[in-house]
Amino acid sequence: MVEGWLLIIIAIGVLWDSRTYPASLSSGTPGPAFFPRLLALLLGVAGVALLMKRYRTTAPRDKKGAVLPMHSSKKTATNRGITKWGNLGLAIVAITGFLLVSPQIGTVFALPILVSSLMWLIGERSALLLVTVPLAFSVFVYGVFSVALGVPLP
């Protein structure tokens, strides 16, 4: 149901933004507005279809489409009590932090922190691996990309 409304909102947003695009450059030839408006229309129809499908369903909400059993608030032994949603949030913070920090301190220094963080979030608890793998990986990336290939990294 949420995605039905989301699609309708996206469709309205696209139609709103497209009001400033030229609709047609010459007689009979579509301009830049044509495709976004067509897509908005189709997305709106799809959104309505999803809403209608949802309202027609009389059974309790079906979770078959969900990939993750995220509704459980049980704490697991592997993540020391942090919920799976919390793990996910931390992963997003880790990647966001890497993107923000790497231009400041350099990719070579930011990358081991990112890799180590992700390893820990996925469940790695070996201190040796949490330190050596990220460091070795950072050296590899620097050697291959910066030195060998001459790719400028932040």
């Binding site: 009979g28 495709f35 897509l39 799809a46 059993p69 995220m70 799976k84 997003i92 790719v151 990294l153």
Partner: protein, 495 residues
């Protein structure tokens, strides 16, 4: 034939052979790394070629191009992330085989098919350079539109059990493509008033976001177990008998790759996707595709490597690059003082045959590198998820930096990672969205170009036999899965 033998003798001279080996190794690496590709690999090595003589320089470049198309399948099979977009179709069945504990078998099929496709594409190049070059320029906007719509019709086979969600995914992909400056008029669309979005949302950030970062989020959230379920995790190489049985699929894939590759601007991605879809369509067991069918690996891999030789047809014959990689190659040719075009075959026969031979030798070197590499790729599969996924995210983000040196691409990858995670969570497939982003430019741009040229008349699409056939095939391809499912359901009800 004597010219080809002379070309072979030239190609195996120590300096030239060294260039081919270096190019093949670099090409496999570039193709395998998410974020890199044959185009990036060629661009990175282009300055190096300035210091070389024309023959080794060009041989190095063509071997990178050939090997990168195979390299993309390595990560596609090992971790379900296409190293480059032409390997997208390989992930469908390749990664499924890995999950069944048959990674070695998948790698072996991919290698054999890539080598075969590379050879067949080179034979096509040698046999048909002149005539096919002339035919390739028969493709105009209407034909390209037909090709794009035909490619998008594959979505009908990828929607799974919920056609609405699959269609929404494809529409979102098409919508993502519209972000940025309109190709024909430069009008900013859906840029939210920022200059950052004027460059659009690129394909590589989407691939990295959807396949690498989404997968990492799923792993972090505990939704995914280890990549493989079975004990050995590697399995065995395919038997010769199995490889021989795959020959019809390889031939079909190579033919599709050869035809589409020769069309400027079509590209190996479309060729491999069409090859996979056609293989599924004619199969007696289409429901097995996407679940680890060998033909689902053989056809797209043969297609994307056949594209390499075919892409050289418009390049060498007309001086028109058939792909982004071919465009970089064109730059390399011109720097070396080689002018591609109709007179190349008559004025620089030795070089042309050295290039033909170079392709064949590159394919053999790719076979050697691949065979030596399979035990290494299998070790990658066996890595702990905590190490594997973390390194995948790290290398993917580094790859986005390598793409254009623009940190915005990494942010776009994170955005797609979040979108992909949300989509999968709600049961929306990701591949239709990727197809939408890839084919959107071809469909919209050529639709508008056709109508501009025909003063708004839609008859232009029916007046072109090629366009008409492609559009009709697209219609059949859209409807066929629904009809097939209805027939199967009726059979079940009767029985």
């Amino acid at each position: 034939m004597s010219s080809l033998i002379e070309g072979l003798i030239t190609a195996i001279q120590p300096v030239n052979l060294g260039a081919l080996l270096a190019g093949t190794t670099l090409g496999v690496f570039a193709g395998a790394m998410p974020g890199l590709s044959s185009t990036v690999g060629l661009a990175l090595v282009l300055p190096v070629t300035f210091a070389l003589d024309p023959t080794p320089a060009l041989l190095m470049m063509i071997s990178i191009y050939m090997a990168a198309e195979y390299g993309g399948s390595i990560t596609a099979i090992a971790i379900g992330i296409p190293g480059s977009s032409p390997a997208l179709a390989t992930t469908f069945d390749g990664f499924a085989l890995t999950r069944r504990g048959e990674a070695r078998r998948a790698f072996g099929i991919s290698l054999f098919s890539s080598v075969s496709g590379g050879v067949l594409g080179t034979i096509l190049l040698m046999a048909a350079l002149g005539p096919l070059a002339r035919a390739a320029i028969a493709f105009g906007p209407a034909e390209y539109f037909g090709l794009g719509v035909f490619g998008l019709s594959i979505v009908a086979n990828l929607v799974g059990d919920d056609p609405i969600k699959g269609t929404v995914s494809a529409l979102l992909g098409l919508l993502f493509f519209t972000v940025g400056l309109d190709v024909l008029t430069g009008t900013p669309r859906l840029t939210l008033g920022t200059t950052t979005l004027m460059d659009g949302l690129g394909l590589v950030p989407m691939l990295i976001g959807f396949f690498a970062i989404t997968e990492a989020f799923n792993t972090v959230a505990g939704a995914r177990g280890p990549a493989t379920q079975k004990g050995d995790l590697g399995g065995t190489l395919p038997r010769p008998r199995e490889l021989i049985r795959l020959w019809p699929s390889i031939l079909r894939g190579s033919t599709i790759g050869g035809v589409i590759g020769a069309i400027p601007g079509a590209g190996a991605t479309i060729a491999s996707i069409v090859a996979w879809n056609e293989e599924r369509r004619i199969s007696k067991t289409p429901e097995r595709f996407g679940k680890g069918t060998p033909a689902g690996i053989a056809a797209p891999e043969a297609a994307n490597n056949a594209c390499v030789g075919a892409a050289m047809i418009p390049l060498l014959g007309l001086g028109i690059p058939g792909s982004a990689s071919a465009a970089v190659l064109l730059g390399g040719l011109m720097v070396q003082g080689v002018a591609p075009g109709p007179l190349l075959l008559t004025e620089q026969t030795e070089l042309v045959y050295a290039l033909y031979a170079g392709f064949l030798v590159a394919v053999l070197l790719m076979l050697a590198v691949g065979l030596l590499g399979i035990p290494i790729w299998v070790r990658v599969v066996r890595l702990r998820p905590s190490i594997l996924m973390s390194l995948v995210v790290g290398i993917s983000l580094i790859g986005t930096f390598a793409l254009r040196g623009n940190p915005y691409d990494a942010w776009a990858a994170l955005f797609f990672g979040l979108v992909g995670f949300a989509m999968l969570r709600r049961g929306y497939p990701l591949v239709p969205a990727v197809l939408g982003l890839i084919l959107g430019p071809m469909i919209e741009t050529n639709y508008r170009r056709t109508l501009t040229l025909s003063s708004g008349s839609h008859m232009a699409f029916t007046e072109s036999p090629i366009a008409l056939v492609l559009i009709l095939l697209a219609g059949v391809s859209f409807i066929a899965p629904a009809v097939r499912n209805r027939l199967v359901q009726r059979k079940k009800e009767r029985s």
